[in-house]
Amino acid sequence: MEKTLTTKFEHLTHFERIFINEESWDTPVADRFRRHNPAAEVIRLPAGQSQAVTTDLGPLTAEQFARSKRWVHLKAFPGSFFKRCPGFSQKKALTCCNYHVLNLGQQCNFNCSYCYLQSYLNAPTMMVYTNLDDALNELQEMARLHSQSPFRIGTGEVIDSLSLDPTTLFSRELIQFFRQLPNWTLEMKTKSALVDQFLDCEHAGNVLISWSVNTQEIIAREEHGTASQLERLAAAEKCAQRGFQIGFHIDPLIWHPNWEQGYADLVAAITSRFTPDQVGVLSVGTLRFQPEQRHMMRERFGATSHVVRAEMFSSESGKMRYDQNLRQTMYRHVRECFQKHSRDWQILMCMETPETWISQYGEQPVRIDGLRDQFKALPPTPSKLRNRQPTL
């Protein structure tokens, strides 16, 4: 299997430098990184070295951030892999859908203009954690207490779940692990079309492969290095055929000339290929970012970006957002496009305010059939997991 994959993904020569800590040097993941990136300079680091290169404290410059996508650091992560989605910490301002995240690395080899990592990361390299076993042990510990609770766990919060998966092959081990936890759902979220590496894995029907999708205009202009809309949908079809749940996140909705037609075409592309019961999660969210991020976006992407040109305002949650009426118009349009096809499409709004939920649905989601279960409070993460801090 691995030999086939190595041949198949030889085009993934992305990294200029690969830093590998001593404890990760002999891992299969490190071996595959070396083989899949033959042009990269490989640098061996002492065990436990938290950062590959000495850097300044504080935020990265635009140039440093861009470089951090071309340098990858393979190491064992000493902290907690499992945590709640950041939306939970803004519960007063936003409606939270109980999502949990499992971070197996950070930074992304794609380059989206609106990416929130630009205001979040200050490490000089991308990181991939080679100690997946520790992450699985952590999940096992949680499972001992709450295997019956319907946890939804995603691996795509601070790194694309699948863009490097042909090299890491983390998906195969995660799918295997989740077979013993049928009440939990594993979500792998991506803007790639890289799914062949796990399609042969047996699963328990609780693995959701989801795509962040957008109009082709936005993909071409804002989501640099990612798969096209058609490639993503074709990959989703392959997953659906193998019995995986699939999901789509139309997030962020970005205003651009002919946006209504663009999103109508996207909805048509989805609804012509999939039925509502094949799509486990369908979410939408409008463009949003931390105020300080606008400077880096302006510097990195310039005025041709619809994101840089966007008319954004400060919102109650502190993020920059479109005017509330425009947001509601955009949500309504996408929702109506889906519902023209079938009333069975249920759409989540990601990181939105209670007012926006009420304007679209007339209710908070805990009162809506079909969405209620996702928004019900779940047991807290055990304190010994919650308090485990990384020694970065």
Binding site: D56, L60, H295, R298, A303, V308, S315, D323, L326, T329
Partner: protein, 276 residues
């Protein structure tokens, strides 16, 4: 830390070997001598008489002493002054610039130095405005997106516009966004506030148009509300809506207003107020 035993000596400025003149805007009292460390003047750059401190500036303790002396001389420095100080101190290996920056809430990193370089390339009049008004690093960040362009006409306009600090900061960002989009008007004849309004209209065309339309429509409602009630369309961040102001000359007026409220409600529901 125990205050060090310093033995400063009064000396002539002509005997000092160099100065760390970073152009602080604060005025040095004419009746006091300037201050130097190891013959490098660090304050009172116009003075003929200098109080020179002899310190072991290569030792950690000595550098700490330099830091304390400097902090006592300059209890407040703006971001722009810190940028100038960093540049002026580049060749003075012993000057504890990183510690001084930290005590002013900044970090000596590429983020700081690249912005400082960009700031220091701008006209002195603009630099002085930023220092005088207390602009922060984040306020100046838009400059980095247009590092290769001649911003002099724009920055001269901001400098001469009598804008408040927050208005000036807004004008810089709006104008740079428009410059990058190729939409910054070449002719700038309006005064400060009118110019800022024009910049906003150009940078936020859709929202401005929608808000102006709403304001026009809302004005029609003024005819149906009591004369002591004022209504206007206002934007508060990502939300826009009606602001209703009631004027009370006596406590009883509130009761009268409350009786009129259903009429206003009815007018709003039947009137031209509609969603964008």
């Amino acid at each position: 830390m125990k205050w060090p035993e310093l033995r400063p000596q009064l000396t002539s400025r002509t005997l000092c070997r160099m100065e760390l003149n970073f152009g602080p805007l604060s005025h040095w009292p004419a009746s006091l001598p300037g201050v130097a460390v190891q013959g490098v003047v660090i304050a009172g750059f116009e003075q003929d008489l200098i109080l020179n401190h002899h310190l072991d500036v290569d030792s950690i303790d000595g550098q700490k002493q330099v830091e304390e002396i400097f902090m006592s001389l300059y209890p407040q420095l703006s971001w722009g002054e810190m940028a100038r100080l960093w540049k002026s101190a580049e060749t003075l290996n012993w000057f504890p610039i990183a510690s001084v920056l930290i005590r002013r809430g900044h970090k000596l990193n590429s983020h700081f130095t690249s912005l400082a370089e960009c700031f220091l390339r701008q006209p002195l009049t603009f630099q002085n405005l930023c220092i005088h008004k207390g602009w922060g690093g984040n306020d100046l960040a838009p400059l980095q997106s247009v590092a290769g362009l001649d911003l002099r006409p724009l920055l001269d306009k901001i400098t001469s516009s009598q804008l408040s600090k927050s208005q000036g900061v807004q004008a810089l960002e709006l104008a740079i966004d428009l410059l990058m989009q190729g939409q910054l008007p070449q002719e700038i004849e309006q005064d400060g506030e009118a110019w800022l309004k024009t910049l906003r209209q150009l940078r936020y065309p859709m929202s401005t148009e929608a808000d102006e339309l709403q304001q026009t429509q809302v004005q029609a409602l003024q005819k149906v509300v009591p004369s002591s009630t004022q209504i206007r369309w206002v934007r508060q961040g990502d939300k826009a809506g009606l602001e209703v102001r009631l004027f009370l000359a006596t406590p009883k007026d509130l009761l009268a207003h409350s009786q009129a409220l259903p009429h206003i409600q009815s007018a709003l529901e039947q009137g031209p107020w509609k969603k964008h």
